[in-house]
């Protein structure tokens, strides 16, 4: 019963997050629709004539007439970078495209201190907000008159700071002096008041907490700007990271994937053929394959680490297992998918069993095997990154995991982008090989 309440609570939190994100999602969708209308308007303007033949009478709902619009793809990608730049204050974008950034520089607010007898005095606090990492001194201010004295403080941007404004006043806590207003607006403990450059809140014990406004931009520690990521890519490509160059990190990951995939195919494809051609082999391996197939390779990581350690052997065993079942199943269905009339035709043309295997069953199964290989390569690439996240000395996954521990978000982002590009390239390469090797795919 408790579990259900707990889960309900979690679900509520998730739903609230989604509801909170709706304005942003809606904004993005509006942006898509707006560019679509602008684009179709421009296109119509550019079409020279508007007679009957210029109209495309494509039925709505005809899926075959829907093709990926290149302009939309380009705008989509550009927009991602523009949004990224706008929310990180990127130097690559003109300033007016930036969303409001955090407050930086000097700002002031006044506080009102009230004694139990009702006497009040105002004093000014000068706040210097500076980029994090810069060393600055507290601004020098005059003490001012009255029992409340002027104060000064520094805060790193995106941060907040407590200030005990009463410390330098002529009163002490024992006198019962309390702060009753900020910039003339009344304040009580646990509440806050807006000031010119952010807000001031009061802790339950009466200390002031100054929060300069952070604007809409993301702090580099959450989201570094594109140029910062690019710069970091250059640095790591030349100097390396954690005793290995970038090429080494990526090369090791690719090496593991390729070796694991090749070993998995060498074992998996013959296994699949055996399962497709012999009842005994199918009976023998069906329970094993059908059980192992739904086990995500990631779930095997702990066992592989226990058995084989965190070195290359363990990783390659893991990737071998990831590729093995996929390739075995692909080869099996490739064999099962052969039209019996093709086998019969080969028999009646005098082919022996071996010749049927060589000239009919194997070529007929190649399209399935290539589909399986594409899936297997994708799974292996995902698995190797995950395995390196857990434990590795080199590799793309290890690089981003270590970087995240040092909050080097730029390296994390760079790593994710590189992992994505490599995964995409692998898929493209496999498709290309497929087109060359099995042009008859889907034509039988």
């Amino acid at each position: 019963m408790n579990v259900i309440f707990e889960l309900w609570g979690e679900l509520k939190a998730v739903l609230l997050t989604i509801v909170g994100a709706i304005p942003y999602i809606a904004g993005y969708i509006l942006l898509i629709l707006a560019t679509m209308f602008v684009w179709s308007f421009i296109k119509r303007m550019l079409t020279p004539k508007h007679d009957y033949s210029s109209l495309k009478t494509v039925t709505f709902g005809d899926e075959s007439s829907v093709v990926s619009n290149t302009a939309a793809s380009i705008i989509s990608i550009v927009l991602i970078f523009v949004l990224w730049g706008a929310f990180t204050g990127s130097k690559l974008l003109p300033g007016f495209m930036h969303v409001p950034g955090p407050f930086e520089g000097e700002g002031t607010f006044t506080y009102t201190s009230t004694l139990p007898d009702g006497t009040t005095d105002d004093a000014q606090v000068t706040v210097l907000v500076h980029p994090v990492g810069e060393d600055v001194a507290d601004p020098v201010v005059e003490a001012g008159d009255g029992f409340a004295k002027n104060d000064s403080m520094t805060i790193g941007s995106y941060r907040s700071a407590l200030i005990r404004v009463a410390d330098n006043d002529d009163t002490t806590r024992g006198d019962g002096a309390v702060i009753t207003a900020i910039d003339g607006k009344p304040i009580v403990p646990s509440e806050n008041v807006k000031i010119d450059f952010g807000q001031v809140s009061m802790t339950p014990k009466g200390t002031l907490n100054v929060q300069p406004s952070t604007g809409w931009q993301m702090e580099p520690i959450w989201l570094p700007s594109p140029e910062a990521v690019w710069k970091r890519l250059g640095e790591i490509a030349t100097d390396g990271y954690r005793n290995s160059t970038l090429a080494e990190h990526l090369g090791f990951s690719l090496f593991r994937v390729i070796v694991g995939f090749i070993l998995g195919s060498i074992v998996g494809i013959p296994l699949g053929y055996a399962m497709g051609l012999s009842s005994w082999f199918r009976g023998w391996f069906d329970p094993i394959v059908e059980f192992m197939r739904p086990v995500p390779p990631l779930a095997l990581i702990p066992l592989v680490i226990i058995w084989a350690g965190i070195g290359e052997v363990g990783k390659i065993i893991l990737l071998f297992l990831a590729a093995l079942w996929i390739m075995a199943i692909a080869a099996r269905s490739g064999v099962s998918g052969v039209r019996i009339s093709k086998v019969h035709a080969a028999y009646s043309l005098g082919a022996s069993k071996w010749q049927i295997m060589r000239y009919v069953i194997i070529p007929n199964s190649l399209p399935e095997i290539f589909t399986g290989a594409r899936v297997a390569m994708g799974v292996c690439w995902g698995t190797v990154v995950a395995a390196e996240l857990v434990a590795a000395e080199k590799g793309a996954g290890m690089m981003i995991m270590v970087a995240s521990k040092f909050q080097s978000t730029d390296i994390v982002l760079m790593g994710i982008i590189l992992i994505g590009i490599i995964g995409f390239s692998i898929d493209m390469l496999m498709r290309w090989v497929e087109r060359i090797m099995v042009p008859w795919k889907g034509k039988g």
Partner: protein, 266 residues
């Protein structure tokens, strides 16, 4: 005794639920070398089973197949088969498909090429020989299938609705081609079809089969195949006997169909 003898062939399929289906019962056919036999019947009468047994893909429950005085078991190159469609190897070009049989025999490249070129000429596909089979139309693919079968020099050609998937016009052209090939090569041919007209046009002999169990219902000796060689097939169809025989067979098959459906419908 040369030719193909089908002797008291019976075939029973045992179903997983324990019952069994008598697909063929005591089917006997005596075919002389060079005869063209067409087999007709409603669906489920065991035509394809009969052909598969003759080809050797199925072992009969009882009965025997004798070819040129030798009993045959299992498939063999002396009984070539042409399927309805989809039996070409799409990973091979037209030329490779036609040359498949000779290649399996280990024939040298030069005589093989001669055979292939000759047959592609016969079926009119000389200019398509380097094409992939999936680039050809359905009719052309069946021409390739015919050529591939002939390239292996079989004694008997078994055709399982070879023209069934073609459009009417292509079908007519192909019927002419089948007759021409039959006359030129003198092969023994068994042709299975759904179309009464096709069975009449292409059958020197015609067997009408009845279902449940599959058996020979009636046999005809027909002059139309002989007439059709070298003549427009449409002329043959105008022959008065053609129309009467067609009507006779059609009503025979209709009666069988109605029997299967359980009594005449209103």
């Amino acid at each position: 005794m040369a030719g193909l003898q089908i002797d008291k062939l019976s075939m029973r399929f045992d179903l997983p639920n324990g019952s069994s289906v008598q697909a063929l019962k005591d089917v006997s056919i005596d075919l002389k070398a060079g005869e063209l036999l067409s087999v007709l019947g409603p669906s489920g009468c065991g035509k394809t089973t009969l052909l598969n047994i003759v080809a050797g893909f199925l072992a009969p429950t009882s009965g025997a197949i004798t070819l040129n005085e030798k009993r045959v078991y299992g498939p063999g190159p002396e009984r070539g088969m042409v399927f309805q469609q989809g039996a070409l190897f799409e990973w091979m070009s037209v030329r490779e498909n036609v040359g498949f049989g000779p290649r399996m025999k280990g024939m040298a490249e030069k005589p093989k090429r001669e055979i292939v070129d000759h047959l592609l000429n016969v079926v009119g596909l000389q200019e398509f020989k380097e094409k992939a089979v999936y680039e050809l139309s359905g009719g052309m693919q069946q021409r390739v299938a015919l050529a591939r079968c002939l390239a292996n020099e079989p004694d008997v050609i078994l055709m399982d609705e070879p023209l069934g998937a073609l459009d009417a016009l292509t079908r007519e052209k192909m019927q002419g081609l089948v007759l021409k090939l039959w006359k030129e090569t003198g092969k023994t041919i068994i042709l299975i079809t759904h179309s009464v007209e096709e069975a009449l046009l292409l059958g020197e002999r015609l067997i009408v089969m009845a279902p449940r169990p599959g058996r020979i219902h009636k046999e005809y000796n027909l002059p139309f195949a002989e007439m059709g060689v070298g003549q427009d097939l449409r002329e043959v169809k105008k022959h008065p006997d053609f129309a009467t025989t067609r009507e006779e067979i059609l009503s025979m098959i209709w009666d069988m169909e109605e029997e299967i459906m359980g009594g005449k419908s209103a």
